[in-house]
């Protein structure tokens, strides 16, 4: 674990027959999805369709009622016991999460820590790096997202676009095999969207596995290897952007695209 935890090899994510409900409200109704290493998957869908929940099931922020998720073949949040799945301990789940990057709509940076400490905290806390190495890595990553000069600032002193770029650097600091983006530009002023998208595009071309929930159709067309359209907790259709976005086969996909384009 010590050496593999740091390798940056892109991971495979498999979602198998995932169901999720809150009381009588069914959010996911049997979702199957395979994300291959280095692939960029964009999830589209109307609000309330379950796309954010699907993303949160992948890193086990939400527990599926039925079904399972695996990362490079390793089950996430559960283990097999005979022919049943059993929940893992919280500690084991936290260790798994540190291999999956997650970027939130509202950034959720730690406001009481400097930008540098925000990025360096997780590798140190999870025991992956010693403090000096973590700080060095954090500086390098801040440089990569174009914020080397903001290392000493506090998050609230930055613009939304800058905060989201710090959040991406924070996710990268754990050298995750996959990064999940939950509407990364939805909380931003329009003129700040571009700087965040260009950082994500850099990641896409560098071969990291990315799963992105977004409303930026143009961006999806540009970087996605695969577009997944989800409605009512089910995947309606999926395929390359040239098919799903330009020649959608389903009425619901056409309907949705006509509203957002």
């Amino acid at each position: 674990m010590t050496s593999t935890a740091l390798d940056t090899a892109a991971a495979t994510v498999e979602v198998r027959d995932v169901h999720k409900w809150y009381g009588a409200h069914r959010v996911l109704n049997g979702v199957d999805l395979t994300v291959r290493p280095g692939e960029v998957t964009v999830i589209l869908g109307p609000s309330g369709s379950g796309k954010s929940t699907l993303l949160r099931v992948v890193n086990h922020l939400e527990k599926p009622e039925i079904g399972h998720v695996s990362l490079n073949g390793e089950l996430i949040g559960v283990r097999r016991q005979g022919d049943r799945l059993k929940e893992l301990s919280e500690r084991a789940i936290l260790a798994q999460r540190s291999r999956i990057g997650f970027v939130f709509q509202n950034f959720n940076l730690f406001p009481h820590l400097t930008v540098l400490d925000n990025v360096a905290a997780a590798p140190v806390a999870t025991g992956k790096l010693a403090k000096p190495e973590a700080l060095e890595l954090a500086r390098e990553l801040l440089g990569r997202v174009g914020l080397a000069d903001k290392a000493a600032a506090y998050p609230r002193q930055l613009s939304g676009g800058q905060q989201q770029r710090v959040a991406i650097a924070r996710a990268l600091a754990l050298r995750p095999g996959v990064i999940l983006f939950d509407e990364p530009t939805s909380a931003l002023d329009p003129e700040l969207v571009g700087e965040v998208l260009s950082v994500i595009k850099d990641l896409a071309t560098s071969g990291t596995t990315l799963v992105i929930v977004t409303h930026e159709i143009g961006f999806a067309r540009e970087i996605a290897d695969r577009v997944v359209f989800i409605d009512d907790g089910r995947i309606v259709e999926q395929g390359p952007p040239s098919e799903v976005l330009d020649k959608p086969r389903h009425e619901r996909t056409r309907d949705f695209l006509s509203k957002v384009l």
């Binding site: 890193n59 922020l61 919280e90 500690r91 936290l94 260790a95 798994q96 999460r97 540190s98 291999r99 999956i100 997650f102 939130f104 509202n106 959720n108 940076l109 730690f110 406001p111 009481h112 820590l113 400097t114 905290a121 997780a122 806390a125 999870t126 506090y154 998050p155 609230r156 002193q157 924070r170 996710a171 754990l174």
Partner: protein, 327 residues
């Protein structure tokens, strides 16, 4: 108020051409509104305040010479030391107890939640003086305290009358009481931290203890500090109740000296008052800097310290005088 030149209109003369005012209106500062009511209110309050201070200084009833005699007497200072000790121990133990109770109350275990709720309910309901007197009589009820298997054999036991000094009783009583209030203060602070912070910490896979110590609690402290200091100031004063379990704190000393020197009761009460004022002031100053420390990152710029405020105020005043002089 005078009419600005160029706006008076008379019926007999044609209005003056509007393009030749003596000075363009936009080139001049707007005259601030005068507020005579405020000046009168200020004067009245100042007169009343002066009267109060004069009375305080000249009324022989207060016996300021006796105040001076008592203020730094070693016996008073001994009492002050007891007050400080009792308060400091109880503040720390109470806060620790409060953190544990708050965590229990927020835990997923219904048993822990119920125990925590019941403790807070009970200790907030029972008057502190009753708790203290209970503890004081405790050693009579339970002669020895033993550590061992519950309901089973004891490994070792204490003779309680030796363990429970007046100081220990006082600190335990105040801490038990303080913990109940601190629990609610801490719980409120933890709840005030945005849910997104918990999620981000969980998503990064930070270990549970680290999440609390480094992410949630430091942010909670921002709202815990003012409430807990409020609590602390209450504690400083309620520590005077330890007099009833025969511990001679600041108030206790003054009380017993007053019994010995009945003529000095009023100056002794003044001595106590002034010392409590000093303690509260020190706590308030510390509070300001603690709050400022935990405001890092929460606001775009830190609030100025009093010294910085004074400097800015003086600079402001100088600029204003210069401006007035120029007009």
């Amino acid at each position: 108020m005078t009419e600005p030149p160029g706006t008076a209109v008379s019926l007999t003369e044609p209005p003056p051409p509007t393009d030749v005012p003596s000075k363009p209106l936009t080139a001049q500062r707007v005259l601030p509104l005068r507020r005579p009511g405020r000046w009168i209110a200020t004067a009245v309050v100042l007169v009343l305040a002066a009267q109060f201070v004069h009375g305080l200084a000249t009324n022989p009833f207060y016996q300021w010479d006796r105040f001076g005699y008592w203020f730094l007497r070693p016996t008073i200072l001994d009492g002050l030391l007891i007050t400080l000790e009792v308060t400091a121990y109880s503040a720390v133990l109470g806060l620790l107890g409060g953190i544990l109770l708050a965590l229990a109350r927020l835990s997923r275990s219904p048993v822990l939640r119920a125990v925590s709720w019941t403790y807070v309910w009970a200790l907030r309901s029972i008057p502190l003086i009753v708790v203290l007197l209970f503890l004081y009589n405790f050693s009579a009820l339970y002669k020895t305290l033993s550590v061992g298997v519950p309901f089973g054999p004891a490994f070792f036991s204490f003779d309680e009358s030796k363990l429970a000094t007046d100081m220990v009783i006082a600190v335990i009583g105040l801490s038990l009481n303080e913990a109940a209030y601190a629990a609610e203060v801490v719980r409120g602070g933890i709840l005030s931290v945005d849910q997104g912070q918990h999620e981000a910490a969980a998503a990064l896979g930070l270990p549970k203890g680290y999440q609390f110590r480094k992410i949630v609690f430091p942010q909670a402290l921002r709202s815990i500090t003012p409430n807990y200091v409020n609590q602390l100031i209450g504690l400083i004063k309620s520590s005077s109740l330890v007099f009833y379990v025969s511990l001679l704190d600041l108030f206790g000393v003054a009380q017993s000296m007053g019994a010995t020197y009945p003529g000095d009761v009023v100056p002794l009460l003044l001595v106590v008052t002034v010392w409590y004022l000093i303690l509260t002031s020190v706590v308030s100053v510390v509070q300001f800097y603690v709050e400022r420390y935990y405001a890092r990152g929460a606001t775009r710029s830190l609030p100025p310290t009093p010294l910085q405020k004074l400097r800015a105020g003086l600079a402001d005043l100088r600029a204003r005088i210069r401006r007035e002089a120029a007009v």
